[in-house]
């Protein structure tokens, strides 16, 4: 095993192109990396490019890839990491794009000048199937025999000369992990880019392309013969360790138990380890808001910057540590080979609701945040399966719902921790059961179609690469901040404006309020006066007016106008309801921070106009059900739009979840009021 520290070394290529050559082609040459999943393609890409890579979409698609500009011994080049594939006869959207890109059929992208074919040396025969197809494309090909160090440790020796002759293209033995052979590979790729020589197909290989009907068999026969001629040794022993582990991890019962344990541990780490950076970010933004608030003159601009911009962005960034940790741990699990086993053991159970086993990890990830979960559905091959998964993911209890659950359970069961925990768990269960039921319905109606049967490679277990996991986390975190961040910034400013305008002057306030305010000021209760002013101001703002206007619509759910404002204000981000309610029920904007106790204390005593309590058991349960089921997260909607490539799906998500939340909350309220 190579040391993981070693992998953190900087890439071996220098970024500046010092050398120059007369034979340099005009414009940068494009080099496409192609290979089987698990062949170490990403490791090799990272080894060649390091932090210079950018994530981009293929033109006109939602399929992402990484690309980087580099100087290969004087030749300016663009390296493109294509999605992994087993065959050019693609069966998934990602594979289709990789195949189209290689053939130059992708609009806005020419066929690559050089194809860098990454071959897993530990399983040459299977990998050579794709190589045989790639060689037939007629573009210049360089084969990188990756993981050659691992293969040698397994007792395999390679006859590279024989391989070159059989393949008809340059072959370089490399190790992306240790960096071995990379310098030579760069040189060979540079030469290939300069010479633009197509592979000289060996007669045996040329024959494979001639008959379409049996091309799989013919190519595999060819791959078998090439392996037999160029590789000595038997590596089947290396797979025995993985198979021994798999006897437990893919076992019908033990496998599920192990999976539950792995996931439980992952979530413990996410929720515990994220606390510290989350507090730090929260503190940092409060401090920034305070500091900026002191510098700027008091007034609308001050309020816009501190409450609208800094508050809004901070409220979003506070979830970043959880999201990063989730991506990081899932990347490690994926790289280790475990995720294929998880999909394997979950497949039978998930098929019952019409989803593939690969949908399970996204569904679980959504308990931290729906956004990374939606991004991680890319592993699902079938488009209908993937859409059904994306549509139900936001029903899972994400961390933003926890403050709301906490508030409601504390209101209902202040001195009964067991009952409170039961209600909390019930809210989680409601989300899970609803998500599975809705997925089942979607797969039988709108997204009708058989679930694709499981076909998954179970690679040998290996030590995951920290470097790859960190780079992936960085990429995904950046995508989250740019997609979700810009949306939430706009929404925060809009919400701020709605809650701020039109302004109320002292004279416009009712006489009763004016008298109260004067009395408070006279008694030296400035804080109390401020709170009352805020409360009245919010009531008079657009948000307050809208709340009053929609109150009749929320009345069957047991919500008063203040709760209606809270629900509306949390349309963009659900956790906002806690601070909105703190303001509306007269605790001041900091009420929620001062301690939940003061908020709860005041909520418990709030009465309606007729003197009855607002927060009865029925209202609390209705509010809880509403927040479990409602789609109140614009960043999630923005990511759904990005991942599905159309506004149709986020709108459907919003529509069905809102309807479901409304009906379920109303049923809950009416039923609970009855008893």
């Amino acid at each position: 095993m190579s040391s993981t520290l070693n992998e953190l070394d900087l890439p071996v290529l220098a970024s500046g192109g010092a050398a120059s050559s007369a034979a340099t082609p005009a414009g940068p040459v494009t080099i496409a990396l192609v290979g089987n999943p698990n062949a170490g393609k990403t490791s090799l890409f990272n080894r060649l490019t390091g932090l210079r890579a950018k994530t981009a979409n293929f033109p006109g698609t939602t399929v992402e890839h990484r690309r980087a500009s580099l100087a290969l011994d004087g030749v300016a080049a663009t390296l493109i990491d294509l999605p992994g594939l087993y065959s050019l006869d693609a069966t998934t959207p990602d594979e289709q794009i990789a195949a189209d890109a290689l053939r130059g059929r992708l609009a806005g992208m020419d066929a690559p000048d050089v194809i860098l074919q990454v071959v897993d040396a530990t399983n040459l025969e299977r990998n050579l199937f794709l190589t045989s197809q790639v060689l037939h494309l007629g573009r210049p090909v360089v084969a990188a025999l990756n993981l050659s160090d691992v293969a040698e440790r397994q007792g395999l020796t390679f006859n590279l000369e024989e391989l070159r002759e059989r393949l008809g293209c340059p072959v370089v033995a490399v190790s992306a992990r240790t960096g071995r052979g990379i310098d030579e590979l760069v040189q060979v790729v540079t030469d290939a880019a300069r010479q633009q020589a197509s592979p000289e197909l060996h007669a045996d290989l040329a024959a494979c392309g001639s008959c379409r009907g049996c091309q799989y068999s013919a190519r595999y026969d060819w791959a078998e013969s090439v392996r037999a001629l160029s590789v000595r040794g038997d590596a089947s022993r290396a797979g025995r360790a993985s198979e021994a582990i798999d006897r437990v991890l893919t076992h019908r019962v033990a496998g599920l138990a192990c999976f539950a344990a792995v996931m439980a541990l992952t979530f413990l780490v996410i929720f515990w380890a994220a606390t510290f950076p989350m507090d730090l970010i929260d503190g940092l933004f409060s401090l920034t808001a305070q500091t900026v608030g002191r510098w700027l003159p008091a007034g609308d601009l001050n309020s816009l910057v501190t409450d609208g911009v800094i508050g809004g962005v901070g409220g979003m960034l506070v979830f970043l540590p959880q999201i990063c940790l989730l991506f990081f741990l899932l990347a490690l699990l994926e790289d280790s080979g475990y995720m294929a086993r998880a999909a394997f053991v979950m497949d039978r159970l998930m098929q019952r609701v019409g989803l593939p086993g690969k949908a399970f990890v996204p569904l679980l990830s959504a308990h931290a945040c729906a956004i990374p979960a939606i991004m991680s559905t890319r592993v699902i091959e079938d488009r209908r399966d993937r859409l059904a998964t994306i549509l139900v993911l936001p029903l899972m209890t994400c961390s933003a719902r926890i403050p709301v659950y906490a508030m409601v359970t504390a209101l209902l069961f202040p001195h009964a921790p067991l009952k409170a925990a039961g209600l909390f768990a019930g809210a989680y269960a409601l989300g899970i059961v609803t998500a599975l039921a809705v997925a089942w319905v979607f797969k039988r109606t709108l997204l009708k179609g058989p679930t694709r049967p499981l076909v998954i490679e179970l690679p040998n277990y290996r030590l995951p690469s920290l470097r790859n996991a960190l780079l992936l986390t960085y990429d995904r975190a950046r995508a989250f901040v740019t997609t979700a961040g810009t949306t939430i910034l706009v929404i925060s400013v809009v919400l701020w404006a709605l809650a701020t305008y039109p302004k109320t002057s002292m004279e416009q306030m009712p006489a009763k309020v004016q008298a109260e305010l004067l009395a408070m000021s006279a008694a030296g209760n400035d804080a109390g006066a401020d709170r009352l002013t805020q409360q009245v101001e919010l009531e008079y703002s657009f948000a307050g007016r809208i709340g009053r206007a929609v109150e009749p619509a929320f009345a069957p759910l047991g919500f008063d106008w203040k709760m209606s404002v809270g629900v509306l204000s949390s349309f963009a981000a659900r956790e906002v309801i806690v601070s909105t309610m703190a303001v509306l029920y007269g605790l001041g904007a900091d009420g929620a921070d001062d301690g939940v106790d003061s908020l709860l204390g005041s909520l418990r005593t709030v009465t309606r106009a007729d003197g009855s309590l607002v927060f009865t058991t029925a209202t609390c349960l209705s509010l809880l059900v509403f927040y479990v089921l409602a789609m109140q997260c614009l960043p999630t909607q923005a990511v759904t739009r990005r991942e599905t490539g159309s506004w149709k799906w986020p709108l459907l998500q919003l529509g069905y979840m809102t309807a479901l939340a409304y009906v379920a909350a109303m049923a809950t309220y009416q039923a609970a009021s009855f008893f």
Partner: protein
């Protein structure tokens, strides 16, 4: 199923509980068949059962592939001299 004259024991891959066999035909839907064949489960390859059941695991061209029994039922195989292999199907 197969035009080979010396078929000894032709059975679906899903009915194997162990041992090795040679793939004789793959009769799945186009997309599913492509996925199977790209991973090496195609006519002429030798497959070895690593774990029977649903889903099951086979070893094929040096790699392990997990697949659902529903799909394995579409793969007809010919048992190759193996003592551990037996059929559960009629």
């Amino acid at each position: 199923m197969s035009n080979s004259p010396q078929v000894i024991a032709l059975l679906p891959l899903s009915a194997m509980i162990g041992g090795e066999a040679r793939v004789m035909s793959v009769e799945a839907e186009t997309a599913d068949a492509s996925r199977l064949m790209a991973l090496g489960i195609c006519v002429g390859r030798r497959v070895e059962i690593v774990k029977a059941g649903d889903p099951l695991i086979v070893r094929v061209v040096g790699a392990r592939v997990g697949l659902s029994a529903r799909l394995a039922a579409a793969v007809m195989v010919d048992m190759v001299g193996s003592s551990t292999g037996a059929t559960t199907a009629a």
